[in-house]
Point group: C2
Chain length 335, copies 2
Amino acid sequence: MGGDIGPRAVVAALLTSLRKHSGASALIFGDRQKVVQELNACTDPTVLNRIHIRHCDVAIDDQDRPSAVLRHKQDSSMGLALKAVADGEAHACISAGNTGALMALGLVRLKTLPGISRPAICATFPTSTGRSFMLDLGANVDCSPRQLHQFAVLGSLTAQAIDNISAPIVRLLNVGEEESKGGDDIAQTSALLESDPMLNYQGYVEGDGVFKGTTDVVVCDGFAGNVAVKTSEGLAIMIKDMFKTLHTSSWTARLGAFLMRRKLIGLQARLDPAFHNGAYLLGLNGVVIKSHGGASEKAFGHALEVALQAAKHNLPSVLLPILKDKMDNKVNRGL
Amino acid sequence: MGGDIGPRAVVAALLTSLRKHSGASALIFGDRQKVVQELNACTDPTVLNRIHIRHCDVAIDDQDRPSAVLRHKQDSSMGLALKAVADGEAHACISAGNTGALMALGLVRLKTLPGISRPAICATFPTSTGRSFMLDLGANVDCSPRQLHQFAVLGSLTAQAIDNISAPIVRLLNVGEEESKGGDDIAQTSALLESDPMLNYQGYVEGDGVFKGTTDVVVCDGFAGNVAVKTSEGLAIMIKDMFKTLHTSSWTARLGAFLMRRKLIGLQARLDPAFHNGAYLLGLNGVVIKSHGGASEKAFGHALEVALQAAKHNLPSVLLPILKDKMDNKVNRGL
């Protein structure tokens, strides 16, 4: 149990989640004493009976480099949580800790799915008609066209499995929608996606297009994806803060805000980054969900929901035979 | 006079601008008949006397590739407008047309400032405390560390000249704020910026940090910059549209919106992409301003304001001796 948020928010969110999902249970890896202290707030035995603590002294810091983690910290709380997924003891691993370490340990413990060279971070974001999946969001700053193709396949299969979309519309993030836009890598990736009969590829999308609700899966390298997501988060937070100052600025504005409160709360919830917390590490042979390091209790609760849904849909197990078949079928493999 | 917006919005915005700035005058390059038709709406001789039309048959389409423009369309309205700046006939050129063509013709007609290999697109965006300059926004999809260094210098000098900031805080856009984040090019660029005594470089900024108002100049390659700006625009438009549906959803919400209208209009204006229309093509030896192709009259009016301010501050002429000195001074040049 790592991350900036500490055991309080994590345990509080977990208790709420277990109350909601009576069939779920939790393994907590971390400092037993701290966890027990937080659990004291709960007196419901039907919830407490479903929580199992595995004490672990070794924690991963934000500053730890992935290579050092692999050498010295495989038995950290993060490493043991991933091992529990690999051993079939848990259906999903969720962490608010160091992303690079989670990637590195995930690769070692769970390996990748057939045809996938490296996992990608994938999350959903709100659009005017619903939501879209976007990947990669920062796991791989430089990506080859081949890797971007793998991400497109992973994203498309995930949108099918989780959101029940039969032929998800896939687009490649670019600096324009015309064919001539972008560099050589973009053009090569576009050709790969175009030639894959498994994908419903519909060309480029610009940053403003991702919110229009005309794309189910947005594919990009980790640098551009991280910039897109973080910029959106920053703007949403700035707008939220501007609203707060509106409410307190005059009595008419205060009254107006009061009358609009229900609608404003609904709008805020749709835009709140907390509502979109919980990113898949797609491509690993197991469910691994990354929560924002600075997540609130509400945000961590949303990440838990993402993990539960992915486990319920049996995500990697559904993807595995399709990817294996794609690799075996020479005409169709593309990867 | 090109772009998707046509002569109506351009001429209407220009008339408003000339009414406001009694010392300004305009040269319009384009189809004389169409321009005259739009000018019929104006009867004020003190404004009309300051408008001069140069008829031009050749227009550049959005589909025209820069190489073809250089071969066949140097005498287009865009080419002639840039020539007017090169010849000292005009203090600034503003266009809503094809960006690639404007870059290519700008380079041929105006050349770059000392030590600058290619121009960058630079625009301002709103932050919680004011505004920041960001470059490049799409002129150069791949940039070397050397080019990014040039952009940092151009951005810093522009923030000094236009916003009167004595030592603008410069940061490099990255996928994290820790030193270990990003690829090799990012690390090399950071070292170059760090070593330049002319810059007040303060390290990396993530996408969400750009709105916090703690950075005056955000430096990035054209791909990431375009993604950041377009994503922000898309999100701002989605939020605006969501608000519209709030207003019409119930009578309490309508009344609430009515009471908040003044504050909402103020907030909307700050976030409205139109308010931030008008990007500098920085690095050229002349003022060239690019308006959004789909700009409204209000948005084009804002781009005109950016052009007037740049001309008033004598932008390239102020930068030229400093950059020349930087090139001559071996200790300090960096470029």
